[in-house]
């Protein structure tokens, strides 16, 4: 089982964010979820670390995946 640190930056309206979170749930991956629509500090953190302004943005041990990309998520999670 992966012990990587996973952070998901999402908005409540975003379907691809739900896909990412469902994918992580289905694979038993624990993650921290930040609602960047309301949490301005998290929004700034997402932008400063990824230089991206788009959701979902997922950090896996600091590596960034923008959007729902199952191949990249699996690769970075070692699934």
């Amino acid at each position: 089982m992966s012990a990587k640190e996973v952070k998901v930056y999402s908005t409540p309206t975003c379907p691809w964010c739900k896909k990412v979170k469902k994918f992580l749930d289905d694979n038993g991956i624990k993650y921290q979820d930040f609602n960047v629509a309301e949490d301005r500090a998290a929004r700034e953190e997402m932008m400063s670390k990824s230089h991206q302004l788009a959701v979902p943005t997922t950090f896996i041990d600091g590596e960034v995946v923008v959007g729902f990309n199952e191949t990249q998520l699996k690769e970075k999670l070692g699934l």
Binding site: T11, W16, K18, H51, L53, A54, V66
Partner: protein
């Protein structure tokens, strides 16, 4: 997904190849015209489709987009974006459509840095900021409708008069933090690491104007994901794969279904029905071999 379900129920050895599950439908907020559901969110409907696919023994490669299709002596070979190759006696292309790009300087470079094609996803990131919505159809008007409630100011830029539904247009005209530029084109998206503004040009006077915005929502329609079929079978002037009413292309064994084709009416219920038709036709074709 419907084609895969129909194919496997005919005991066809079926492989489902897709970049993802859900396509355009997943970002559709609410659906009230897919029979069986008085109201359902696009995400939820696609979850149900996906669950239904997964209850059948369909071999799947999700996360792999097909980038090339070629004909073999007895069938076809497809190549995916990770270099995998698969061979089949029959192929159904049901790749749908994707958002159209403006194709202006700065757009690609600033994608996901203020340029977005998914207003429902990224809209809330721009709360309290100035944004531009590009387009004049329903998707653009819906994006504008959402953004006037949360953005400081919304500029709407359309090449044509607004073409969306009147109810959305009426809503547009009443917002106090909205400026509409009709018959204007976007000529550049500006910014170093994030979007800082756009330059627009009046189509009548050629006068240019800079708008200071942090977000650019591009909602100018869709283009078919038909590149893999180019040079293999006939596409129409919109790039859609030409099929007959049985979902057959001009190449025996090659079928296409849904929004990627020239069928009239791009609707979820129509596309699902076309998927079913294509699979049943592919079954007939395979039986004849």
């Amino acid at each position: 997904m419907t084609a895969a379900v129909y194919a496997v129920r005919k005991r066809i050895n079926t492989l489902l190849l897709s970049k993802d599950f859900g396509g355009q439908v997943i970002t559709t907020a609410g659906i009230e015209n897919y029979m069986g559901y008085q109201y359902i969110e696009g995400f939820e409907l696609m979850q149900k489709f996906e669950e239904q696919v997964k209850q059948f023994p369909i071999e799947q490669r999700i996360g792999q987009g097909v980038v090339a299709l070629s004909r073999l002596d007895a069938g076809f070979e497809v190549r995916t974006d990770n270099g995998e190759r698969y061979q089949a006696k029959a192929v159904i292309i049901a790749t749908g459509k994707r958002p159209r790009q403006l194709n202006v300087p700065g757009e690609d470079r600033l994608r996901a840095r203020g340029v977005t094609y998914c207003a429902v996803c990224d809209g809330p990131l721009f709360a309290g900021m100035k944004v531009a919505v590009i387009g004049g159809g329903n998707s653009a008007l819906e994006a504008m409708g959402d953004m006037v409630n949360i953005a400081e100011h919304v500029y709407m830029v359309s090449l044509t008069p607004l073409t969306g539904d009147q109810i959305l247009i009426d809503k547009a005209k009443n917002a106090s933090n909205l400026t509409i530029f009709l018959e204007h084109e976007v000529i550049e998206v500006e910014g170093s690491s994030q979007v800082e503004g756009i330059t627009i040009r009046d189509l009548k006077t050629s006068q240019e104007k800079k708008l200071e915005v942090a977000g650019v929502f591009i909602e100018i329609g869709l283009i078919p994901n038909s590149e893999l079929a180019k040079g293999v079978t006939k596409l129409n002037k919109y790039g859609e794969i030409e099929v007959n009413c049985a979902c057959e292309t001009e190449i025996p064994g090659l079928f296409a279904a849904g929004d990627v084709t020239n069928i009239p009416e791009k609707q979820i219920v129509v596309a699902a029905g076309e998927g079913a038709k294509a699979a049943l036709q592919a079954h007939r074709y395979l039986q004849r071999l």
